[in-house]
């Protein structure tokens, strides 16, 4: 390479591949700037920009996908950012989570009297962080993405200013999150110490070709990174924040946490463990398997004894994270594509389910007791029918996408001869099914004591829940094409 003697060499940048991050981050900043300059508040501005950005990212992923499929994955910025099919797939999931959160937040925020500008700005920034994670080719970039994502969410959780639970949840989430970030960073440092680079591709190549005589530092690095990333996706035993944060946070934020943050977290886990640490699979596979099994069991069992629906869904999200991790630990093509399929279905399941919780929660966002759902089928039959589909999807009943998702991860566990894990996970799924049935039975019971007279279902809720239900049904009946997409979307590391 020859450079003019007086110019500083700058790394190559593939601008089109960075478009999603740029769009999200810029619209966040722009929104902040514009609205501070405006004299009069425009109520549709913030949700409008957020929604537009989400839809733009979602639509732009189609040409990007085609391009990557044709020309292969690329890496740029000194190989610190990569764009492969998985990046685009996960980015579009994040965009979907962003869109549904934006739609649902508007009526919620005006009902609760929460200023909406900050909400959308933080949401957009958080989404930008998630997209950075999905394309990280370097541990430092990965960490940057996680921090951008998380710090925005810490504030979002606290946004319900008049609600003490919201503040409490935020403090808990923030403290534990800060710890977990420290763990992650320390893990990254140890891995760097062991291999001498933070670039994922270089780490992979180094580990594949060299034999470490003393690999203790690397192992501790793995473990600490697992702690840090496990916290983000709420895997047992790093789940402790989840129920409180989910219960206390404003419900639209919970949608974002359950769908968007989880997708981004698993994007990071997929890039780090099965891809970068591929040659050390024997060392991290068993811990991952154990954690996934424990998450599934713990989430399912503890969800049974809850009486608050938001908490139930929080624990069930721990179980779902466990299921997804089962696919990760199998560390092969089928398992990874099952993970992506699961994440796709779960994005819709979580958006739809929590959308309904937003509605039933009512004024003050506090009416999340199981009793509040009693007689919902009488008052709002269509809403109850949609919730039924979503809950059955979460339970993994056949002819829903949830079934195909569970089938995929379980079969990847069996494929790697983790029979015990597969059995335990399936039994826990049966227990978890009971949780969803409890909600269902409450909805269809006659008892009309619950305060559901004043339920107001906004158009946005209808849109999100019915679209989610349609996706859940369609992926259940004709899973073939969708599974094919996730197989094409299996991540690959290039560059270096």
């Amino acid at each position: 390479m020859f450079f003019a003697s007086n110019s500083v060499p700058t790394p190559e940048i593939v601008w089109w591949a960075l478009l999603p991050v740029i769009v999200l981050a810029v619209s966040g900043v722009l929104l902040l700037t514009i609205s501070s300059l405006l004299k009069k508040e425009i109520s549709w501005l913030a949700p409008g920009i957020s929604l537009t950005a989400g839809i733009f990212v979602l639509l732009s992923s189609i040409p990007m996908w085609n391009r990557i499929q044709n020309d292969g994955p690329i890496s740029f910025l000194n190989n610190s950012v990569g764009t492969d099919s998985s990046t685009i797939f996960l980015t579009s999931l994040i965009a979907i989570a962003l869109i549904s959160t934006s739609i649902l937040a508007r009526p919620y925020l005006s009902r609760e009297g929460i200023p909406d500008l900050e909400f959308y700005v933080l949401l957009l920034l958080s989404a930008a962080g998630g997209v950075v994670m999905a394309g990280a080719n370097d541990l430092i970039v990965l960490f940057l993405g996680i921090e951008i994502l998380s710090i925005a969410v810490y504030v979002l959780v606290a946004l319900h200013l008049r609600k003490i639970e919201s503040q409490e949840a935020s403090i808990k989430y923030f403290l534990l999150g800060a710890f977990s970030s420290a763990f992650l960073l320390y893990g990254i440092a140890l891995v760097y110490g062991a291999v001498g680079t933070t670039n994922l591709v270089e780490i992979r190549n180094f580990l594949a070709t060299s034999l470490l005589i003393e690999d203790g530092m690397l192992m501790i690095g793995f473990a600490l990174m697992l702690v840090g990333l496990g916290f983000k996706v709420a895997v047992f035993p790093f789940h402790a924040w989840t129920p409180d944060a989910y219960q206390g946070a404003p419900t639209p934020v919970v949608i974002w946490m359950a769908a968007g943050v989880k997708v981004a977290g698993f994007a990071a886990i997929l890039r780090v463990f099965p891809l970068t640490f591929a040659s050390y699979v024997n060392d991290w596979q068993i811990p991952l398997a154990v954690l996934s099994g424990l998450s599934v069991v713990f989430g399912s069992v503890v969800a049974v004894v809850q009486t608050n629906v938001k908490r139930m869904l929080a624990y069930s999200s721990i179980a779902h994270a466990g299921f997804i991790l089962i696919g990760v630990q199998s560390s092969n093509m089928d398992g990874t594509s099952a993970v992506l399929f699961y994440l796709g279905v779960y994005t819709f399941l979580a958006s739809g389910s929590f959308a309904i919780a937003t509605v039933v929660g009512g004024e003050g966002d506090s009416n999340h007791d199981l009793d509040a759902y009693k007689g919902l089928a009488k008052r709002k039959p269509a809403l109850a029918a949609l919730f039924t589909i979503l809950l059955l999807g979460q339970a993994g009943i056949p002819f829903t996408g949830g079934f195909i998702a569970k089938l995929g991860v379980i079969s990847s566990a069996v494929d790697t001869k983790y029979y015990f894990l597969a059995g335990v996970a399936m039994l826990s799924a049966a227990i978890a099914a009971y949780v969803y049935l409890r909600i269902l039975m409450a909805m269809y019971s006659d008892n009309n004591e619950g305060k559901i007279e004043d339920i107001h279902v906004s158009k946005g809720v209808w849109v999100v829940t019915s679209l989610s239900s349609i996706v859940v049904i369609v992926t259940g009946f004709i899973p073939g094409p969708f599974v094919e997409i996730t197989r094409d979307a299996v991540p690959i590391l290039v560059g270096g």
Binding site: I404, L407, S411, M426, D446, V483
Partner: protein, 545 residues
């Protein structure tokens, strides 16, 4: 017509109910009459398709899968949409398509509380899809999907339209079956990956189990998983406790479908999947299955004797009768499994009928407490006779269908398949035979207490107690006629099943050691579990000497 049936017959039969349900879903629930008509027409249409399938079925080749459709479904997980019908599935399919319209007719004017015919009928139709699908599926994942689909409608039927203790009963039913099928799915997946088969299609898996020599231990574990899945559904003895609760609380039609078809999904699973695919493991499990079956027979019978509620009594009699079916299956012989399928059909018809009767009596007396019943023959003589007829059929009176399920099953235990301990099975046979005596005991006692004598004071003048109505006759007549017809001419069922059952069993189980030479037996290549090597080497040296 022929071609149309070939490529579409089974698919239409499976999914028509779902289409009907979808149409009903779109009609507002106030239009009750329209709902009933649509449900009835749908189920009659399915029955008609079933009839056509029977007429065009080649009864000379029942061992061959007919009307096979093989289409790609989820390529990525190697699951295919493969459906087919052979002599084993045919009778059960026909039983299903018969029972469903009868149930709809029966519930025509008396839907259990809280009414809502729309949802009730939709659930019945979804159930029908699941049941038919299970009987025709030839792919493990497809089978599992249909097997599970059945669960939810039945759960809701019990949970919403059930008796006072419905929540407990429905959850118990749901959780038990879900636990079983959870392990079953893991078994299916393990089998698939261990055999390295190209797809989940039964025949493909079966070929690969032999070709790739799946280890003995793995086979035993996999069979164990399937055993739990199917055994809970049957239900076999230690897992039976959900059944009496579910039956007692379920609405009449729910009980009928549960008894007539749902329980058969479990036994059918053994006959269709577990035994043909894993014969070696089946041989080692069979004595235990036989033991549990016999315990079920005796335990079920004693429980019947102790019951004070008529519906609960019939439920426990199901445990006993399914014990006979499982005993027949556990012999792993052509004879025993034929008897078992006959037992399934007979039990479906008879117990279904008994639950119809129990439902009708409950409607008249508002109780099924046997103590308070009595004198049915005085107040409703025709119903009384029907009850007598069904009780006789259920206790296995020769000339009625029940006999052909029970008697050959007992007899088959005299001579179990190669590799099974003969003495133990003969002991089972003796104990099972005692079970028939107990069956006669509890059924006749039930009949005596409920139908004979004079009506109890509280009901003596009750105008509510009248004889069977027209709709009841319409729902019952086909069942009664079939109980009699099969009783007189059991070949109606055996004609279909015999060749198919024979083909589903590996020759190792069925070859007659006394008639073949040592070389001929050697040429079949059986593993040592069948005990062929040792047994006949003595035999042949003796005969040669």
């Amino acid at each position: 017509m022929d071609n149309l049936l070939d490529s579409w017959g089974l698919t239409v039969a499976t999914f028509s109910p779902l289409v009907g349900a979808l149409v009903m879903f779109l009609i507002p629930k106030e239009k009750e009459y329209e709902h009933k008509i649509i449900a009835l027409i749908t189920s009659l249409w399915v029955a008609f398709v079933g009839l056509m399938l029977l007429i065009w079925f080649d009864l000379d080749a029942t061992e061959k899968l007919q009307y096979v459709v093989d289409k790609s479904w989820i390529d990525a997980i190697h699951s295919r949409y493969v459906v087919g019908l052979d002599g084993i599935s045919l009778p059960l399919l026909l039983l299903t398509v018969l029972i469903v319209p009868l149930c709809i007719v029966y519930s025509w004017n008396h839907f259990p509380d809280p009414k809502n015919p729309k949802t009730f009928l939709i659930l019945i139709l979804v159930l029908e899809t699941g049941m038919i699908g299970t009987f025709v599926a030839q792919d493990m994942v497809l089978f599992f999907v249909f097997f599970e689909v059945v669960l939810l409608p039945m759960f809701f039927m019990i949970a919403v339209w059930g008796g006072p203790n419905r929540k407990y009963a429905s959850l118990k039913f749901f959780l038990y079956t879900l636990f079983g099928s959870a392990l079953m799915l893991v078994s299916f997946l393990s089998l698939f990956f261990l055999t390295g088969a190209e797809s989940f299609v039964f025949s493909e898996i079966a070929d690969n189990v032999v070709a790739n020599a799946v280890s003995r231990t793995a086979q035993l574990w996999i069979f164990g998983g399937m055993f739990l899945g199917f055994g809970i559904k049957v239900p076999m003895f230690p897992f039976h406790t959900w059944l009496p609760d579910a039956h007692t609380e379920a609405p009449t039609v729910g009980s009928v479908i549960l008894a007539a078809v749902l329980l058969k999904l479990g036994t059918y699973g053994f006959v269709r999947i577990a035994i043909p695919l894993l014969p070696d493991a089946a041989v080692e499990w069979a004595p235990w299955i036989g033991l549990l079956a016999v315990i079920g027979i005796i335990y079920g019978a004693f429980c019947c004797l102790a019951q004070t509620d008529m519906k609960r009594l019939i439920a426990f009699s199901s445990v006993a009768h399914m014990g006979f079916v499982m005993l027949g299956i556990s012999t792993l012989t052509d004879f025993g499994i034929n008897a078992a399928i006959m037992g399934m059909v007979a039990h479906g018809l008879i117990t279904g009928m008994l639950f119809f009767l129990a439902g009708s009596m409950k409607e008249r007396y508002h109780t099924l407490e046997i103590k308070r019943l009595g004198g049915l023959l005085v107040q409703a003589p025709k119903m009384g006779w029907v009850l007598g007829f069904c009780a006789m059929a259920s206790l296995g009176l020769p000339g009625l269908a029940g006999f052909w399920g029970e008697f050959p099953a007992i007899l088959s235990a005299y001579n179990p398949a190669n590799g099974l301990p003969v003495e133990i099975f003969r002991t089972f046979m003796v104990i099972a035979a005692l079970g028939t005596v107990l069956a006669a005991g509890y059924l006749l006692w039930l009949l005596q207490r409920s139908a004979f004598g004079t009506p109890k004071e509280e009901f003596a003048e009750d105008p509510n107690i009248h004889d069977a109505t027209k709709t009841e006759w319409v729902a019952w007549a086909p069942l009664l006629a079939l109980i009699l017809a099969i009783g007189i001419y059991p070949n109606l069922v055996f004609r279909a099943t015999d060749a198919a059952v024979d083909a589903s069993l590996t020759p190792c189980l069925t070859i007659d050691v006394d008639e073949l030479t040592h070389e001929e037996i050697e040429s079949v290549h059986c593993s040592e579990v069948y005990g062929l090597g040792n047994h006949d080497s003595d035999h042949h040296t003796a005969s040669k000497g």
